[in-house]
């Protein structure tokens, strides 16, 4: 039995056909037929749908991202390749003939929606240590699950200008202040910590830097330059906060003695140059070397004495035709998403620079969750928290199995960012 919503949807997409037996679709459609990849409740695997779109672009197919239309659906010319890929990955696609496609375009034109051309698959780089498993990082985990190819880069590649070939760079829980996430005192003796310290110290030495904070400051500067030249940066968790701290503290010692051999400059906060930072300004530094807290940028302070409980954050609505970039970044089938902790969970409103676009916040709370901005010729997006499907994530927890969360709205936000650089640049108005 068809309920009212299905009836309305069926009317809105008049002529669209469900695909019970995909092998028959192409023969049933004429030339110029299209596939709609719905991203609303009709989608059977939201996360893999991004992979299907990404691989279509890799194959040279061109499509459109229908912002604010059915949860951010994709429209591609019908092809055997896309159909095969969708079937293999359990992704719902709908066939649309010329009439149906025209109807869809009419609806997009008539509502707060827009069609953004998708032209080429971006080259994706993930900044991660060479020994990290994909399951250590929410982004590599979802890229792996969706089947989106990426290259791994680390300090030697970044210092050696190895970011140039890439369109998109992702940072996750790296500590760009070079203090090993400030775990040194509380986790002293843990094998994983020792391995992390050995790897970072060895890398710094091989690259000719006196200590880890020095090499991380240099890496942060190279990343900023990558964005200045037009790169897309997406950072999560503590990479957001520490990247800005590293950039703002050029020439100022903000690292504990266990990182660089000298204690932190007690007057460091007053000497920070926030003009170099992406998103934040005026933050106070955490002076204790044993607290795994860097500054008061994070609103939740998961390891601090003022730890705040988790709530839920809401995505903002943007006018797709006026603000296509923020619109792309918030495409989702859910508007309210449960929050999740990270070493940096959220961003205090008062620490955010003017001009930064807030994409999601927690109503009434003094912090926001998801922000975006421009820098030079590029853009950046910061998303607080570690793993959208593991709200209390702790060291040593089992990795998240995304096949159990194929509709994760939090992970969708990450994948919006991956596909965002594929949008034709001339269409970007923000």
């Amino acid at each position: 039995m068809m309920d009212r919503r299905d009836f309305i949807r069926a009317g809105a997409t008049a002529g669209a056909l469900w695909i019970p037996a995909p092998r028959r679709i192409l023969s049933a459609l004429g030339r110029g037929a299209s596939f709609v990849v719905p991203m609303d409740e009709a989608q059977t695997n939201h996360l893999k749908a991004y992979g299907v779109a990404f691989r279509a672009l890799e194959r040279g197919e061109r499509g459109e991202w229908l912002l604010n239309y059915r949860g951010g659906a994709f429209l591609f010319p019908a092809s055997e390749g896309l159909q095969r890929d969708a079937i293999l990955n359990g992704v719902s696609i709908e066939a649309a003939d010329d009439v149906s496609a025209a109807t869809i375009r009419g609806e997009v034109q008539a509502t707060n929606a827009d069609a953004v051309p998708l032209e080429k698959a971006p080259k994706v780089a993930v900044y991660a240590p060479p020994d990290a498993a994909p399951w250590d990082d929410a982004v590599t985990m979802v890229l792996q699950y969706a089947g989106i190819k990426y290259d791994r880069v680390w300090d030697p590649e970044v210092i050696g200008d190895g970011l140039a070939p890439f369109d998109w760079l992702h940072l996750h829980h790296e500590d760009f202040t070079g203090q090993f996430s400030k775990f040194v005192i509380n986790y002293a003796g843990s094998p994983w910590l020792q391995a992390m310290m050995d790897l970072n110290r060895g890398t710094a030495q091989r690259l000719g830097y006196p200590n880890v904070p020095a090499v991380k400051h240099a890496v942060a500067s190279r990343i900023a330059a990558f964005v200045d030249r037009g790169g897309f940066l997406f950072a999560m968790c503590t990479a957001t906060e520490t990247l800005d701290l590293a950039l703002a503290s050029e020439g100022v010692d903000i690292a504990a003695a266990y990182a660089d051999g000298t204690p932190m400059n007690p007057d460091a906060a007053a000497q920070l140059d926030w003009s170099r930072a992406f998103a934040f300004s005026g933050a106070s530094l955490e002076l204790s070397p044993s607290l795994a807290v860097f500054s008061d940028i994070d609103g939740h302070q998961v390891n601090g004495i003022n730890r705040q409980p988790l709530g839920a954050f809401s995505l903002f609505n943007f006018a797709a035709k006026i603000d296509p970039v923020p619109s792309m970044l918030v495409q989702n089938h859910r508007q309210v998403i449960p929050d999740f902790y990270g070493l940096t969970t959220s961003f205090r409103r008062t620490a955010i620079k003017p001009g930064v676009t807030v994409l999601a916040d927690e109503a009434g709370a003094p912090w926001v969750k998801y922000i975006h901005g421009d820098r030079g010729q590029g853009t950046w997006t910061f998303f607080g928290g570690h793993d959208p499907e593991d709200p209390q994530h702790a060291i040593g927890d089992a990795p998240t199995d995304l096949s159990l969360h194929p509709h994760s709205p939090g992970y969708r936000l990450i994948l919006n960012n991956v596909l965002f650089p594929a949008a034709k640049k001339k269409e970007l108005k923000t």
Binding site: P20, R84, L88, Y145, L402
Partner: protein, 584 residues
């Protein structure tokens, strides 16, 4: 301050002139001698304590506390003889003091002065006639002084004077044990237990420590004794020595007439069986519990019989387990829980033995005591057993009125075992796709898919193959299914081979399973082909051939997108591609 200076000076002086510090300490300690004695004793300074106790006794020769203290410090110093002199002086003053006499007995016996010990013991006995304390003290002290001859003499003297044959028997038994006279010790322990039954377990504990070479002597002594305690002690000893069955045989053959004594012995024997898991011991435990139940209250007896039945069942003694369970199940006084449990256990035992007819009789007996659900459940168990043996008429009759999901399911299976595929399909469909246990539902759907693929109304051979599965003869079932497949249309053949492949892999024959699944992977049988590819992909993945697994899964997902196996296949596909943790 003045005292501290004095002490410091004294110590310094002592060091200079080489006087022992102990003596210096005496000088400064002005407390009473008794307190100084006890303080020195606590510090382990026995020589000093002896000096102080003697100072007390100089003033009060019969002071019990001082004499006992002197005994405590002189014996470790090897100066027991000094105590004898003090005691003689004390007893001159108070010759009727029992405390002093006891001390004198211990002191003289311990120092090898047997005659003096005997003299004081006799004096003590004259003051308190009829008690065995003087002789026990004498004997114990003698044993401590390694003078077993005197100890035995003390005890024999005591027994003679006291005039009771069992007097001092536990002490004498222990002295005889020390002498290595285990037969004599046995006799004495029996006397002790006869006089006081609480000594039975002491006797068993003591005699159980006898060297293995001495066990025959003990058995002989027990066998020749006329004591009523001989059989129980022998029974417990045999059990303690590891022969639970022999101990049980002896115990049951000579159970005391009195219920209380019988219960005591049986409980003691049951305790001895704990920790022994071999069938003879378990069977013996069952027998003991059963005997125990006969002496208990009805309610306690029921529970004990259930325990006995479980012990018999654990021992593999199905007959006795069955017998007892039937008694419990048929007991009108049995609480519902116990009766139900007994009947279920009994049926389980019978069905495990393949005794369908016997189970049927038990079922008939206990049916009135079961509630409706339990009646149907137990009837289905018996019906299945009948069907497995080919007694389809009785099987059908037992479940004819059962309209539950499980009832329809079983009726369908009974038809299937007979080769009535149409009837089987009808009942299995009536049972539906749901069940309280998911695996039952899956199994039922699998059977329906098989029947649909075979597409015949009757087929005795398929009934025989399914019967082979039911009775656990997997090899026979695989062979039969393979033979059936040869004569069927492609869909039916593929379904039979698919099932045979699952049976083969369940018994570890992966090669046969692979061969069968490959032959089930045919275009004419899409339902079986999809599952065959999934099964083959799993084998390839387990064999570390991820590419081959991936190829199979892709062909499955593309060619059979509507197959019920697709969700499982897609999950496996993610794993072999490394898209989810645990894959690769």
């Amino acid at each position: 301050m003045m005292w501290r200076r004095l002490i410091v000076r004294s110590v310094m002086l002592a060091v200079v002139i080489g006087v022992p510090v102990d003596i210096v300490a005496q000088v400064r300690d002005m407390s009473p001698p008794m307190a100084r004695a006890q303080s020195a004793e606590r510090r382990g300074q026995y020589a000093e304590a002896a000096i102080q106790y003697n100072l007390v006794l100089d003033e009060r020769p019969t002071d019990d506390a001082a004499l006992n203290g002197l005994e405590r410090v002189l014996v470790p110093l090897g100066r027991g003889a000094e105590l004898a002199r003090r005691l003689a002086r004390a007893l001159d003053s108070d010759s009727l003091n029992v405390g002093l006499l006891g001390l004198a007995v211990r002191t003289f016996a311990g120092s090898g002065q047997a005659d003096s010990a005997a003299r004081y013991a006799e004096r003590w006995a004259q003051i308190e006639p009829g008690i065995d304390g003087p002789y026990r003290e004498w004997a114990i002290a003698a044993v401590e002084g390694r003078d077993r001859e005197s100890a035995r003499r003390a005890l024999e003297t005591g027994r003679r004077i006291l005039g009771r044959p069992g007097a001092l028997a536990p002490e004498l038994a222990q002295v005889l044990q020390l002498d290595g006279n285990w037969a004599g010790a046995t006799q004495e322990w029996l006397r002790a237990a006869e006089a006081q039954p609480a000594y039975r377990m002491s006797a068993v504990a003591a005699l159980a420590r006898a060297p293995v070479t001495q066990r025959p002597a003990i058995r002989t002594a027990l066998g020749g004794a006329r004591s009523v305690e001989a059989p129980p002690v022998r029974a417990l000893l045999e059990a303690r020595w590891g022969d639970i069955a022999e101990g049980t045989r002896i115990a049951l053959a000579a159970l005391p007439a009195g219920a209380d004594q019988a219960v005591i012995l049986l409980r003691a024997m049951v305790e001895e069986t704990k920790g022994h898991e071999q069938p003879p011991a378990l069977r013996a435990r069952g027998a003991l519990l059963e005997a125990l139940a006969a002496h208990e209250t009805p309610a306690a007896g029921l529970r004990t019989r259930m325990d006995a039945a479980r012990a018999y069942a654990d021992a593999g003694d199905e007959a006795n387990a069955r017998r007892l369970l039937a008694v419990v199940a048929a007991d009108p006084a049995a609480p519902d829980g116990i009766a139900t449990s007994a009947s279920a256990t009994l049926l389980g035992v019978l069905l495990a033995e393949g005794r369908a007819d016997e189970a049927d009789r038990v079922l008939t007996q206990i049916l009135p005591s079961l509630d409706a659900d339990e009646r149907e459940r137990q009837s289905r168990r018996v019906a299945l057993a009948h069907a497995r043996r080919g007694n389809f008429g009785r099987a059908d009759a037992l479940v004819a009125a059962d309209s539950s999901v499980a009832g329809f399911d079983l009726r369908g299976r009974i038809r299937l075992l007979q080769g009535d595929l149409a009837g089987a399909t009808e009942f299995l469909r009536l049972a539906g796709p749901y069940d309280t246990q998911r695996e039952h539902a899956v199994e039922r759907v699998t059977l329906l898919v098989l029947l649909q693929a075979v597409g015949r109304d009757t087929m005795q051979a398929l009934g025989a193959a399914i019967t082979a599965i039911e009775v656990g003869d997997t090899a026979d079932a695989i062979a039969r299914l393979g033979a059936i497949a040869e004569g069927l249309e492609p869909q039916g053949a593929a379904a039979c081979r698919l099932l045979a492949g699952h049976l083969a892999v369940a018994v570890g024959d992966t090669a046969a399973a692979t061969r069968l699944w490959r032959s089930a992977n045919v275009a004419e049988a899409p339902a079986s082909a999809a599952e065959a590819r999934y099964s083959l992909a799993r084998v390839e993945r387990l064999g570390g051939r991820a590419d081959a697994a991936r190829e199979l899964l892709e062909s499955l997902l593309l060619e059979f997108p509507d197959s019920a196996i697709v969700p499982e296949a897609r999950r496996l596909y993610d794993q072999v591609r490394g898209a989810t943790p645990g894959g690769g």
